[in-house]
Point group: C2
Chain length 344, copies 2
Amino acid sequence: MDMTERKLKILQAIISDFVRTAEPVGSRTISRNYELGISPATIRNEMSDLEEMGYLTHPHTSSGRVPSEKAYRLYVNEMMGRKELSADQKEEIARRLYDNVTELDNLIERAAHVLSEITSLTAFALSPAKEMEKLRYIDLIPVDERTVVLMIVSESGKVSNTAVQLDRPASEETLRILAKNMTYNYSGKTLSEALRSDIIRNFREDAEAMAMFENNIVPGFLRTLENMLNVNLYMDGLSNIFSIPEYSDIEKAKGFFDIINRKEEIRKKLIERDDGIIITIGGENQDADLAECSVVTATYHVDGKLVGKLGVIGPTRMKYDEVTSVVEYLTDNISKAFMITGGD
Amino acid sequence: MDMTERKLKILQAIISDFVRTAEPVGSRTISRNYELGISPATIRNEMSDLEEMGYLTHPHTSSGRVPSEKAYRLYVNEMMGRKELSADQKEEIARRLYDNVTELDNLIERAAHVLSEITSLTAFALSPAKEMEKLRYIDLIPVDERTVVLMIVSESGKVSNTAVQLDRPASEETLRILAKNMTYNYSGKTLSEALRSDIIRNFREDAEAMAMFENNIVPGFLRTLENMLNVNLYMDGLSNIFSIPEYSDIEKAKGFFDIINRKEEIRKKLIERDDGIIITIGGENQDADLAECSVVTATYHVDGKLVGKLGVIGPTRMKYDEVTSVVEYLTDNISKAFMITGGD
DNA sequence: GTTAGCACTCGCACATAAAGAGTGCTAACA
DNA sequence: TGTTAGCACTCTTTATGTGCGAGTGCTAAC
């Protein structure tokens, strides 16, 4: 059976109506509310065809039609236009994103918040992966006899540090040598290179320094690198789930929270996703628990180096055009916002 | 009407049964399952008295009795014993608390997690208030011509820092002088003193240093202090709410999440609460949205200086004895755990 | 003071009925 | 040949009625 122009229009009308109301839509509704100039009977015939083609389903004999995942996929791929955000919306988003942000992670967290509020869905955002960040500078700052602070500065200016307790007192001179050596050995290396590579030990001539390096500094160094590499997952708008009719059933709501609680898993899944705007619909999500959800993600870049993701998770019946636009606008603006506020 | 020994026993039986089953309890149930040696009819008479005294309520004429808030209050104040945790439970808690913790905040977050799992309720924990923390050491570390890292180390060893962009290049000498001065002026002061006090400017002799100090260092200093003072609220076990019959109604569940979402408010409320173990039952919580919940909080101390809170929120029908014991055990162990793992 | 007995009250689960929305088919029409 | 009106049929939803069970409150006897 061929897809005709008219079938497409009817399908679009059905999707649009169902997205709005969450109720199966009947032929009369389409005929009344969408000016296609054809009678309910004709629409019924077309609907019957569309069902045979796999674009519609029938909850039961005597109810309206519901778009299938195949229909959403067609809609997203072929029929959906970008919904340009209004100037007001853009301003609102920008204002809230730019407001008083001092840390990149902070900005990302806020992006999740804004995203969830605008879409009324559950939003998430991943702080940037820093594998490709390069080390710039390493220092050991004596605080007291047995305490030094190990500080690592990355090329993008991110600072991280740990207080390290020493076995034995260290002279400032020793610390200076160690720090200088580490900076020399590691600056220009990426964080993951530094973490994976064998620790470079080239002060064998100084037994004292060497012992301390081995026992105290190296563990602290690795710990700090790991901290810097950590990717945080922020989620927001969890309670939005309750305003979605699909989840008015307590069991389903519970199921949703069960998914959402497995943060570690989500984090991994997100990291695996391809770059750019990705929409997965229902069963396209490997996870069986997500079979009734769609996920929209987009990738942001800061400085062309740091890379992270954000997006929303909601019922397959979501406003893909709107959501896509907001997600895109946010990612486009994240690096911009961050430069303006001049965070570290 | 007087409270008698027997009435107390019956009330305790009713509370205990209702806490377990969430169903109104009838006279037969009490007579069968609790060996009080009296018949249902007698129990009915006593129940009737207890109702008149305000300890029981009656959902409708032909159903069992439900304890009132007044009953829970009596129970908590007079009848409840501490439920000693089993050695196994203690070990389990300790193991999970001590496991691989490197940061205090981390430990607190985990405490919330453990607490929610053990009680099957929603748990929260507040990272310690650091108002009383004293500054130990301040340093300015040059990274490149226009970038320095401002580092603050507190007496308990917590390190915090910000990268500061400079208007103009600064000599290492200038930075050294500034850092030395700041350490001299602020070490021994508490964080909040440092934040509130006027900035001390005593290098008027050096116009160059002074200008940089004013324009770049001071804002970074204040920002860092504020960061250090920030109190984080961790919540865990949100989805536990779904296994509580009281919240099988979607509207109530939604209401619960509405409360939980107002993190800022919760944080403030928690900070205001008195020290020690505090139990508020139903309407005793000012917040109308919490009128059907009870909140149990306890205070922990680290090093006798840092102070924070943790606790649970659940239905008025909760196992107060168990919850109290767990909460108490956790707070007692937090500082201990932290010393053992040798965190910063 | 305690207890057995019994009438009475509700709430709940279940069945049944009526209403409403929507389809699918048939036959007529342009 | 495509479109439409008409109508029987299906299935869900909502309202209504009924019986059952749990539990009380009262009375009278112990």
